[in-house]
């Protein structure tokens, strides 16, 4: 169980950081005025949202070796998760960026900010407040999706519990793992609530 939990958490944290960063980049490419760049970003998002994560895992793990590209199975998991989630985060970021009042961009331009400063100081702080709810959805989905690593032969907590449940003819192991997830998600929910509070000083 502890072993499984370690897997869950390490896949979760590494993916979270990687896919957020990648997501921001993809969101900007998607918003680019250059048609080619934005089409490429759209294609990337379509491909990664368009196919099940399960298949992406299988392709990277068992498909790429056909082309002679072999990764360690943990690397495979991280890679697939990061790419997959970056597409979802990118869409959320894009929506957030587009929803910020035009006046905020205009004020930034008139005050002489360069793009980087504008996004860092003016746009993103407001975007974050606005996208917290969908972000929490996606992050919570991520922590549960980590269980998909079973397909690579890595035993996560859910799989371990399923096997135990079947062996012992009892739903207790599943209840246990359910509680573990519940605790993890409760912690995440709490973290999001804190961020929400931190941003509640203005409307």
């Amino acid at each position: 169980m502890i072993q499984g939990l370690k897997i869950v958490l390490s896949v979760f944290f590494i993916t979270l950081i990687g896919s957020m960063i990648l997501g921001v980049i993809v969101a900007f490419l998607r918003l680019s005025k250059n048609k080619l760049i934005s089409s490429l970003a759209k294609g990337y998002i379509l491909l990664l949202r368009g196919t099940p994560l399960l298949l992406q895992l299988i392709f990277i793990c068992f498909g790429l070796p056909i082309l002679g590209i072999v990764f360690d199975r943990f690397i495979v998991a991280i890679l697939a998760f990061t790419l997959n989630y970056s597409a979802y985060f990118a869409e959320i970021f894009r929506g957030g960026i587009e929803s910020i009042d035009k006046g905020q961009y205009e004020a930034s331009i008139v005050l002489g900010f360069d793009k980087f400063t504008m996004y860092k100081r003016i746009v993103f702080p407001q975007v974050i407040k606005r996208i917290l709810a969908p972000l929490s959805n996606e992050v919570i989905t991520l922590i549960k999706d980590t269980s998909l690593v079973y397909i690579l032969g890595i035993n996560d907590i859910l799989r371990i519990a399923q096997i135990a449940s079947n062996r012992e003819l009892s739903l207790v192991p599943l209840v246990q793992v359910g509680i573990i997830y519940l605790i993890l998600v409760a912690l995440l929910t709490q973290a999001f609530k804190c961020i929400e509070k931190r941003y509640s000083y203005y409307r």
Binding site: Q104, I109, V110, L111, G112, R121, I122, Y201, Y202, R203
Partner: protein, 221 residues
């Protein structure tokens, strides 16, 4: 000439809003745009600030000839603007709104920026609201923050879109004082207003706009 607007044309779809607008303003001059609601005044200021693409014509800032909003945006930090609806940054306190641009654009030290910001906020009568957020301010207070924020940038040219619409006569007097001081420091100022008294008192030149046309340009003495 600090600002030269030459044959500026602009339509929104088939609504021709600006029709061959031309006028100029010297350095250190204050110009006022007068005109009925919907005449096109805000659109002119937005073109000068690079916020609106225009169809034809040119806007010459000092000696820089600009024909697109991109060109103008390259003059970053040289032209300031107070918006009709303020566009304050809601997540920043009053003082943060004012110091943000000096610190980030002109790389002024934070302490110095705060000092100047406090000074200008005192001039507009907001010394007791430094740490309030825009949502906690009255309409006129928000407007004064917008004015302070634009002045703190200390640009070559400053545009005001109805800067006194939400202000009482006493406060307006303070604003006039500030504008005259800026002018004496060599700043070129362009103001939209509906307040004819205010216009006469503060300006060197009144540009009358009627349905997208320059109807009359009047020197004030």
């Amino acid at each position: 000439m600090m600002i030269t607007v030459k044959n500026l044309n602009k339509s929104f779809k088939d609504n021709k809003v600006l029709n061959n607008i031309s006028f100029e303003l010297n350095q250190g001059e204050i110009g006022v745009l007068l005109g009925k609601s919907g005449a096109g005044k805000t659109t002119i200021l937005r073109c000068i600030n690079g916020l609106e693409e225009f169809d034809s014509g040119e806007i010459i800032i000092y000696k820089e000839i600009t024909k697109t909003s991109k060109d103008i945006q390259k003059l970053r930090g040289k032209i300031g603007m107070v918006f009709q609806n303020f566009n304050l940054f809601p997540h920043m306190s009053v003082i943060e709104n004012v110091i943000e641009s000096p610190i980030n654009v002109f790389k002024i030290k934070k302490e110095k920026a705060i000092e100047s910001a406090k000074e200008i906020l005192r001039l507009v009568g907001l010394e007791d609201k430094l740490n309030s957020y825009p949502c906690e301010l009255s309409g006129g207070q928000q407007q004064r923050v917008a004015i302070a924020r634009a002045c703190a940038l200390n640009p070559k040219i400053l545009c005001f879109d109805e800067p006194t619409s939400a202000l009482d006569p006493d406060t307006i007097k303070n604003i006039i004082t500030i504008m005259k001081k800026l002018k004496s420091q060599g700043m070129t100022i362009l103001i939209i207003t509906h307040d004819v008294n205010f216009a006469n008192e503060v300006s060197d030149k009144i540009i009358n706009i009627k349905e997208g046309i320059v109807e009359e340009i009047k020197k004030v003495v």
